[in-house]
Assembly symmetry: C2
């Protein structure tokens, strides 16, 4: 086997340490006082519901995985367009992501009542329980993703796979994580909002009972939904980004080092392992960050928020320092500093997006307050102002991401070598996500605190306890919103890295074809009259591929791909919003039925049938997610088969650009509506029960599926489409309709008539075996004949 540098072992070390601490925190939380019998009972319902959902979801996922696994085997063993290890990598990626979701849900549902109970003695204790539980999720995601990556890397190196194979095989392991994320985010998003809307429409409006009332049969489902959507869903989403960014960067590292010239070839493995090492260090530092979180008693929201943010800032700072040494040790002297700067840029971008999200959604700021004041004119103006706020809020984060990407590209010497620039962008994404142990802990803290509040409400705990859980909940709302900003920001950077890595996968596919056919593969790049070059695929740069496939703005296949990508983001959002509507409709019927058939419920004498509501949300979520999921999966495949590689890159770019803005708009509009309502509830514009409040409640209801279903699901969409493209690259390169090439200028004037035909009309299964729509050594022969 090739020698793996010692530094690499930091990655598995970080992974294992993270997992060990996850176990420690798990038992710490579990052994905390669970509270009164009633509290345990209520929490038990939620726990039961959550696992009922998870069981159903994992059933669905399993079916999907089995089908996909078989399909991949056909593509691999049958058609020979996929490496034989890819289906297996796919399985482990999915398995570990699912395991992380299971563990996260497990601890979150333990933590709710324990947080409530801890609040009855001290705010600091409550904060710690909730945050430690969140940390279990954070560390589990980081640990499992990193151990999976490390194990594959170690084993493949052990068996002497060449590095360029290792990176592309592992890349498609992200497809497993993608699939899990799809089910978790999309299914979870539909579940939680179906339950929420259903509970509100019948409970609050028709039966006029307050929120989180035990008499409402959908209340438990609503609480389950918080865990399902915001713990498991968010976790799977970020698991995917985390693994995806590391793997894409490793693959881009291969490309970068190849283009730097012979001098640096010895450092190839360093380029590949550097992102893993950075992630490993991040995991270790995260543990320190988690221990730093504490607060003093009577802390206000701002101070609580700071106690969480503080650890994120410090960890980011420490990771920045670590990045300096990692890049310095592993990368060549001419380049390390640029890559280090790219990492710092990624860290800063992550923090800034969170800040901007806060400014657009927190009711301490103008934007959200304006929405509340529009409530005095009625619901319509609330909606309009909210949409305008959401649309306008795209500017700051998008500009931040753009400037970040450009700066990372430039500082990593992108203008000297595009491959180095792309590597730098990837490194920025890894840097941003290296803080995941802490940032995800902060995100997962939100729904736990929310559920703790629900538990306190349903158990009618004393005012001062509820005041404390409310404080935590309020902070949790903000971290949930900024977490969404972080999630979409990191998804955008990851998708960008995946987009670049896609061409590495195309290269691997072509090489695989050559292997099967026993031929050396070349790209014929045709510059102009009498000026063409045969570039060995192995040594071709991304610019060669871009040139070969004509992936430029005036190739209609590319440009129309961009149109389709943008449109799919809208249609996907429409379908997720409709999915919530449909699932919520069934929930409404069920709650009405229970109220009608069991009149004891409203009197508080009969226990509502919580489980049926959970089941309805569960089945609804799993059923209604099918169509949007299918759109996400099928679009790149069909587009690819018709428009080829250029079309695929078009839709990825279009979906990424439009999806980013659309997701930000929906997340932020939803968050702002939510907080505008809360702002009115603080007594502004007439307070609760005023007409203004009613208007803002309508805004909040519109915002719910925006911010918890459609918006976050777009994260998945843009990454999933990249992953599908990567895994199906073989199929698309081989079988895409041969409208593949726009003739480069003057191509019809190629002197050799015979060769002209071969270049232009080379089709799959043409006489030149093994070179579908690509030139190979038989073409080289004809060149020699010339």
């Amino acid at each position: 086997m090739e020698m793996i540098p010692l530094a690499w072992y930091i990655a598995p070390l970080g992974a294992i340490t993270a997992l060990v601490f996850a176990v420690v925190f798990f038992f710490q939380v579990k052994k905390a006082d669970p509270g009164s019998e009633r509290m345990v009972e209520i929490a038990g319902y939620v726990r039961e519901g959550a696992f009922a959902y998870l069981k159903q979801q994992y059933k669905g996922v399993s079916v999907f995985f089995i089908v996909a696994f078989i399909l991949f085997q056909v593509m691999s063993l049958g058609l020979g367009v996929l490496h034989w290890l890819v289906p297996w990598a796919f399985l482990t990626g999915g398995f570990f992501s699912g395991l992380a979701g299971y563990i996260g849900m497990n601890i979150a549902t333990y933590a709710s009542n324990r947080t409530t109970q801890a609040c009855s003695s001290s705010l600091n204790k409550g904060l710690k329980i909730a945050f430690r539980a969140g940390s279990v999720m954070g560390l589990t995601v980081v640990g499992l993703a990193l151990i999976d990556i490390s194990a594959w890397f170690f084993v493949l190196t052990w068996f002497d796979f060449p590095l360029e194979k290792i990176t592309v095989i592992m890349l498609s392991f992200g497809m497993g994580a993608s699939t899990q994320a799809l089910f978790a985010r999309l299914g979870g998003g539909i579940f939680t909002k179906a339950a929420d809307v259903g509970a509100d429409l019948v409970g609050k409006l028709e039966a006029e009972i307050p929120e989180d009332d035990v008499r409402n049969p959908a209340t438990i489902a609503d609480n389950v939904g918080d865990n399902v959507g915001d713990v498991a869903g968010m976790g799977a989403d970020l698991y995917e980004s985390y693994a995806g960014s590391i793997l894409a960067t490793a693959a881009l590292g291969m490309g970068a080092v190849s283009m730097l010239g012979a001098k640096y070839q010895g450092l190839m493995i360093n380029f590949v392992i550097a992102p893993m090492v950075l992630a490993g260090i991040g995991a270790l530092l995260s543990i320190i960050g988690i221990f730093m979180v504490s607060t003093r008693e009577n802390a206000n929201t701002r101070q609580l928020m700071f106690s969480l943010n503080k650890s994120v800032y410090i960890i980011s700072f420490l990771i920045g320092i670590a990045a300096f040494f990692i890049t310095r040790i592993l990368l060549p002297a001419d380049f390390y500093f640029g890559v280090f700067i790219s990492t710092v840029i990624g860290l800063v971008v992550g923090i800034l997006i969170g800040k901007f999200t806060e400014m657009d959604t927190s009711h301490s700021f103008e934007a959200t307050r304006n929405i509340a004041s529009q409530g005095t004119y009625g619901a319509a103006t609330v909606i309009l102002e909210g949409i305008a706020v959401g649309m306008k809020s795209t500017a700051a984060p998008v500009l931040t991401i753009i400037i970040g990407i450009l700066a990372a590209f430039i500082s990593s010497h992108g203008f000297q070598s595009i491959e180095m620039g792309l590597y730098g962008i990837g490194f920025g994404a890894v840097g941003m996500l290296a803080t995941l142990g802490v940032t995800l802990a902060t995100d997962a803290f939100g729904p736990i605190a929310d559920n703790a509040g629900g538990n306190a409400q349903m158990c009618h705990l004393p005012e001062d306890v509820r005041h404390m859980t409310d404080s935590l909940d309020s902070v949790g709302n903000t971290t949930a919103a900024t977490g969404k900003g972080f999630a979409i920001g990191s998804a955008a950077l990851t998708a960008m890295a995946l987009l670049a890595a896609y061409l590495e996968e195309v290269r691997a596919v072509v090489l695989l074809m050559g292997e099967k056919a026993g031929r050396v593969m070349y790209l014929l790049i045709h510059h102009s009259k009498d000026n063409f070059e045969l570039i060995p695929v192995k040594k071709a740069s991304v610019l060669h591929f871009i040139n070969y496939y004509q992936i430029h703005v005036l190739n209609p296949k590319f440009l129309l791909g961009v149109f389709i990508g943008a449109m799919v983001a809208f249609v996907f959002s429409a379908l997720t919003i409709k999915a919530v509507g449909k699932a919520a409709g069934k929930m409404v019927q069920e709650v009405r039925r229970q109220f009608a058939e069991l009149p004891g419920i409203l009197e508080g004498t009969t226990k509502p049938e919580y489980a049926t509501c959970v089941k309805i949300s569960t089945i609804g979520a799993q059923r209604e997610m099918l169509l949007p999921a299918l759109i996400g999966i099928v679009t790149p495949i069909i587009t690819g088969l018709i428009l080829g590689v250029a079309g695929v890159l078009g839709i990825l770019a279009g979906a990424l650009a439009a999806g980013l803005s659309l997701a930000l708009m929906m997340n932020n509009a939803g968050g702002a509506w939510d907080n505008a309502k809360k702002y009115v509830e603080t007594g502004q514009h007439g307070g609760r029960h005023s007409d203004t409040h009613k208007a803002t409640v309508i805004g909040d209801t519109v915002g719910d599926p925006f911010k918890d279903t459609a918006g976050p699901s777009i994260n998945i969409l843009i990454k999933l489409m990249s992953m599908v493209s990567i895994v199906f690259a073989g199929l698309i390169v081989t079988y895409s309709l041969n409208v593949e090439k726009i003739r480069p200028p003057f191509s019809k004037e190629i002197p050799d008539k015979k060769m002209q035909n071969e270049i232009i009309a080379l089709r799959p299964h043409s006489p030149c075996l093994g070179c579908p729509s690509l030139t190979s050594d038989c073409l080289a022969d004809s060149l020699k004949k010339k």
Copy 2:
């Protein structure tokens, strides 16, 4: 002068004939019975308001034109980055568009009461008056645009300007039309909705008087708004598309014929005039189409609709046939058929988009009815369902446009010559817009019928007359919706053609630089190690430019441009929505003031001060449009200066792709909400005054700025950004920061050290005068030295 082929004279002939018939129809309508004194009085208020607005708008436009003219003179005479004729072309483009708007408003405000009066004798007469008035608008737009184009073309040819100069100078004449369209569409959109929302919020909700009640001070402004937004705004929008598509196609024709090889050089002028001839034929055929419109008495909505559609279909068919002969006569035998097919595709796409729009917004179909039925759950579900319908409705038209563009590209031999393919796409756009005489007549019919209804209502005319005006109004609503579909569809195709034509403008800019410096300009295309070519700029293909500027998916400057473009579409929409809100707020205050200070108004004894309301809407519209307008203008310039040509093409592609979906979503959601409300008003789900009705009214209010301000304004945004890019191409090519070039592969291995520096670091005002960031003969020298 070069010989202009005889066929070309069809263009000015068509233009003049259209204008003659416009005059005839104008006087026909004007001499019709204007109705009772009261009807004339009411119409007079609207007319007065409309001209008050137009006067104010043209003041604003004039200021803008003067500033822009001076700026262009500086760019032309001072910096030498613009041809000296461009500022003048800009002026005439703007002048004729403004004149068309003036005439259209003039006739529309004459027509309203005359239509009402005609309805009191016969439905057919009413239809004819309204449609003839609409035709005046349609024929004026077509006639003035075409006469302006013809005049410039004739004069420039007369003075022996070379063809390649003529086409690019004329292209920037579209900037004048763009500016007019910006003011008309954006200002008009804000005006109409500020008045509408203001009238509704205070009149309907607070004072509880019905719609179109003369006691409401904002009612006249509301009626004025229909003319301002839907007649003048829509007219200016389509004027721009019409002129833009013809000019862009002419410019693309230049590129196409150059690349076809020496054999076809003699046909150069034919390629340039062909789109003008097609437009001329379209103008002539439109007149026939207008005469075909009539209906029988007691026709229902469906039959009325058909009587309008019929003429569009027949004209489309005839234009298709004419296109066959035009292309056959003017274009080379190998290529004409493909271009003919592209034209047919454009015609079909135009009709299909209209159909799809109808299906998504008419309450005869599922989508809109579902929104109405969601009203039973309240306003929130109406909003969610409407947004979902809007988002989903993007699929069919976007796919239609994509398939249309691809088919037009392929059939015009795009895979043999990308230039021919782009020419075919342009021809498709011209074909679609060749029907404009009739289609715009149909669109303008809508607000005229609407105002006729308002007139009947305010004058308390008998039930049967109001029934007839209601029939016309109802048809007008549908044509307004389908007209919006046609407008965005044609805007997308035009923008696509402009995007391609942009590179022709870049070429012209570089040639202009060379002229000034007395040098021959070359592009240095650097393929790989030791493989570079010097291509004379004059003969470079678009692929050479793409290669030179590296306008491909993995150039961050391009890709980040796409991000910015998508984001700007969102921010622009946010600002337009906010603009309506702000202007409406002032209107609300004014109406409240009048009701408070003049209590006689509500009793019907005091005449409200209509003019102040018109003034408030006017000033509000002109003031609030500034910020979004500025965003549209400044974005491509700043992005261009920082990210260069690649960045500009990125934002154009991003804004086009995301803007198309966003505009369709907002137009169709708005239309569907409007009709869902109307559907409930037909008695469904409890009918008027039910809770469901209230919920759908909220949907309608949200939809108003969606469909009448933000959505249609995006048409302008995507075309305006293209036009700004075209006019500022000189500035951007010359002064963009020199982060311009990603080194092609292996560039650092260029053997000659000195030359390497010159290639990479060539900056504006570098020693090599006249070749800012471009290579010129001095580089050729250094190559020879090598």
